[in-house]
């Protein structure tokens, strides 16, 4: 039998492969050249330093929103509210960024912290409702997404500015952008936020795998009753998991606020960073390292897709490919079944050949 661990890694890889093949078939059926389409995608993601910069910029918030979803998942919670938490983090960090005048060593960390706190607070609400009143976190966090959207818009219009549709730019002392990075990448929108993202990956990995708290979170996610029986405070772990998850999502928001846009404008809809984070976490098997790989995959697909119209292919094709990849990963059961089946057949053949050999020897 194939080892479980190996299959765990194999399923996402096969899913990505199947998704890309399905995308190629759709391109063929719509009269496009799939090779040209994927070549355009590749060039759009890595073609030169400008595109590479854009790709890194896209990957950065995905790492954080993916971590947010993955962390909650590991504690048995489905945080579909990352979108709202991103909004709150974005808003809080920009607010600190525009309203204060401090040296960078204090200002930037303070702005990031504000984003994490705001996101964490937005995650605390579904967490405490789930822990104390058994209200399903999915529905509460969906509702909170809309609440966050409207509150953020209203705060931008009426509190931070005087009826403007956008805040001012954050102070330079609270910005991830750097002249040097801009020049090196041909003025792409890359910023130093990716360092924060990578530190977060390490922290989440450390928390989940090397600390008692992380062990508790995973235990609660695995079996609440057993965890309670062995003396863990299940309620508190549920709340904590949602707060941590929300804080990570909030930091994803700061990537937008202190990096990509350096401000916040009134939004007409969601950023989709949170919803894509679900896909990223899923592809990454809800592990910290996996999330990085998932985020890279999605960042490359999304940024590269913008270049696909050069080959005549609509950008939206990539959305279809992403959706199909999620379907394939989610249907891991059937892939596992197929893998075992293939393996059984081959091992049977090997056995038959062996028996042939022995008969011949005799």
């Amino acid at each position: 039998m194939l080892s479980n661990r190996f299959i765990h890694i194999l399923i996402p890889v096969i899913s990505v492969f199947l998704g890309l093949i399905a995308g190629a078939i759709i391109m063929l059926l719509s009269g496009y050249n799939p090779l040209a389409g994927y070549a355009a995608l590749w060039n759009g993601a890595f073609g030169d330093l400008y595109f590479a910069g854009e790709t890194v910029r896209q990957i950065t918030p995905y790492i954080l929103s993916g971590l947010a979803v993955a962390l909650a998942f590991r504690a048995g919670l489905f945080n579909i509210g990352v979108e709202g938490q991103v909004f709150m983090g974005w808003l809080a960090s920009v607010w600190v960024g525009v309203s204060m005048d401090l040296p960078m060593v204090i200002h930037l960390p303070l702005a990031i912290l504000a984003g994490a706190l705001a996101g964490g607070l937005w995650g605390f609400i579904p967490g405490i409702l789930k822990a104390k009143l058994y209200v399903h976190e999915v529905i509460v966090s969906i509702m909170l997404n809309y609440t966050a959207l409207y509150i953020a818009n209203s705060v931008i219009r009426n509190v931070i500015t005087d009826q403007q549709d956008s805040t001012e730019r954050v102070a330079e002392s609270a910005s991830f952008r750097s002249q040097w990075l801009d020049e090196v990448t041909g003025y792409s929108s890359i910023h130093f936020g990716f360092i924060v993202a990578l530190i977060s990956v390490f922290l989440v990995w450390f928390l989940l795998n090397k600390t008692t708290k992380g062990y508790e979170l995973r235990a609660v996610g695995y079996n609440q009753h057993a965890s309670r029986y062995s003396g863990m405070k299940v309620d508190r772990n549920i709340i904590l998991a949602m707060v941590y998850s929300g804080a990570l999502a909030g930091v994803a928001g700061t990537m937008q606020g202190l990096g990509t846009f350096e401000k916040m404008s009134v939004q007409s809809g969601f950023t989709n960073i949170g919803f894509d984070g679900i896909a990223v976490a899923l592809i990454g098997g809800n592990t910290a390292i996996g999330v990085v790989l998932g985020a890279i995959l999605f960042g490359v697909l999304k940024v590269g897709a913008l270049n696909m119209p050069l080959a005549g292919v609509p950008t939206e094709l990539v959305e279809i490919v992403i959706a199909l990849i999620i379907f394939f990963v989610a249907s891991g059961y059937i892939i596992r079944w197929a893998l075992n089946r293939i393996e059984r057949n081959t091992s049977k053949k090997v056995k038959e050949e062996k028996t042939h050999d022995t008969t011949r020897d005799a």
């Binding site: 509460v140 969906i142 809809g269 919803f275 679900i278 899923l282 609509p314 939206e316 959706a323 379907f327």
Partner: protein, 318 residues
Amino acid sequence: MILLEMLETILPVTLFWAAPLIFTALGGVFSERSGVVNIGLEGLMVIGAFSAIVFNLTFADTFGGATPWVSLSVAMFIGALFALIHAVVSITFRADQVVSGVALNFLALGVSIFLVKQWYGKGQTDMVDAPFYSTSIPVLGDIPIVGDMLFSSYATSYIAILLAFVVWYVVYKTPFGLRLRSVGEHPMASDTNGIKVERMRYIAVILSGAFAGVGGGVFALTISQNFASTTISGQGFMALAAMIFGKWHPLGAMGAALFFGFAQSLSDVGSSLPLLENVPSVYLLIAPYVLTILALAGFIGRADAPKALNIPYVKGSR
């Protein structure tokens, strides 16, 4: 007198906004009663809206006055077909139902916008020529005051409300409904009694697709009147909330959808109403969402989800 004027402004708008939510929430009731979570309602609405608009644009000349109705049936059919993906993946392939639903939302938006680009060469369609128009119901619509308030909205709104009673009858008073509910509560017991669990769930999910397709179609043909990536933005999730708010009961879901419609109409026309003109619009905008959370947190009493929700049924396992 002020109150009457307010009602005259608000009630027709309420009915107008509630109709798509009612259809979709009723679909959600079927799916979740059978034990299959359907977060994909949003995507199913997208597909419904997309097919209704495309059909309407293409065949407005052929079908004349019947066009919006035929468009709705097409939306229903395509919605049902699309829901089949969710059924296969989450029932036969035993995928996590929430994840499958999320993927369905991605897929619906991707496919529909891809096809719009492909067929129309731009990100959104034109406005349809044959949308639904509001009609006054004969006799009832002629009653003074009440007629204007309640009986001069869209035909689809009345059908939605009527349908809620039909679905209630089906789910609670027919053998089919009994089987549906038993499959969602205790699939193994149902299986032992000879109910085909997987088939019931397939039927339920496909029905939810048909209903959500109509919901999306109604939204497209009464409210947005064209299709773009932002046409359906959260209505499916609202319908899902309405279904849970309504405790997985068809009439409860209808009530909740009407309430959401009411809240929506308040934020729509609130600024022109005498008592509400001074309330900052953000409160009216967030009201439906905050009220849903409060309601879930215990103001309407505990509601229990179907017990087998989100658990794939594997024959022979306990």
